[in-house]
């Protein structure tokens, strides 16, 4: 599997096919024999900003940091939660078990959730 081709920027779907985010970056680790492997998927604007690089990337990352409600650098999905990789990265767990994206949570609680009819799909 080529990281650049098969993994980065792919859509991550949970067990029910619901979108979790994109693979904004990956975290590599080295095994005992020194061979690197993918330890986790990193999701979030900070990870994306750092990866895009340059002044623009650092600005994106900075905005994300100011918006986030805690000090976590990016949502981290351990690689062993990945069930299958086809046109998307499919996880073996439901979305609820992962860390909630802070922006989504904030908007849901303070803006969208307060408007009547927020529970009805159409």
């Amino acid at each position: 599997m080529l990281i650049g081709f098969d993994l980065l920027d792919r859509q991550i779907l949970d067990r029910d096919g619901e979108p979790v985010g994109k693979v904004d970056d990956v975290e590599l680790d080295a095994g005992e024999d020194g061979v690197p492997f993918v330890a986790a998927l990193l999701v979030g604007q900070r990870a994306l900003g750092m990866r895009i690089g340059g002044r623009l990337g650092r600005w994106i990352a900075g905005v994300a940091l100011r918006l986030s409600l805690d000090e976590r650098p990016a949502a981290r999905i351990p690689f062993d939660l990945v069930a299958e990789i086809d046109s998307a990265v499919n996880l073996s767990v439901r979305r609820e078990l992962l860390a909630d994206p802070p922006l989504e949570v904030w908007l849901r609680d303070h803006v969208i959730g307060r408007i009547p009819g927020a529970d009805d799909a159409s």
Partner: protein, 171 residues
Amino acid sequence: MPHCTERAAGEDWPAWPAGYQPTVTLHRLAIVAVAVLLLWAGFAVSVTAPPDRSDYRRTALQVAASAHDAAGTGALIAHQQLDGDVFGTFADAAYDDATRTLSGAATRLTGEPPPDDASAALRDGLLPLVQEAVRALGDAARATSRTALRAALGVLEDVAARLADLIEANR
């Protein structure tokens, strides 16, 4: 190339190496600033320079064309009213649109003094036509009887024709 970070979980992102000064960025900023300044100066010069004869002629012809459009449209609206093809609110809105075009044209014409005698002659020929069009369009818009409407229609068609002649003569 994808950029994969190698770091332990929880560690922060790497900082600039100690002692590194981003001088390249400063140079680039200076070049951009000079370029912007030159562009702005050029723009300021071209905008504040007094118009010459060909500029004025072009403006005058555009004004004539706009006035001709407004008068022609006004005549069309009057025709449609006489034929019973339009309802009141539409005619009002249509007259408003034509009036706006016409007053824009009139403002442009009176906004600049002509740079020389030939331009002044052009303006002297154009200005009365524009004023007549303004009057006739206003008359058509507030006409309450068919006779008044027909009269305004006649004036509008006449003004449009004379404006067309003026444009042709000066092209």
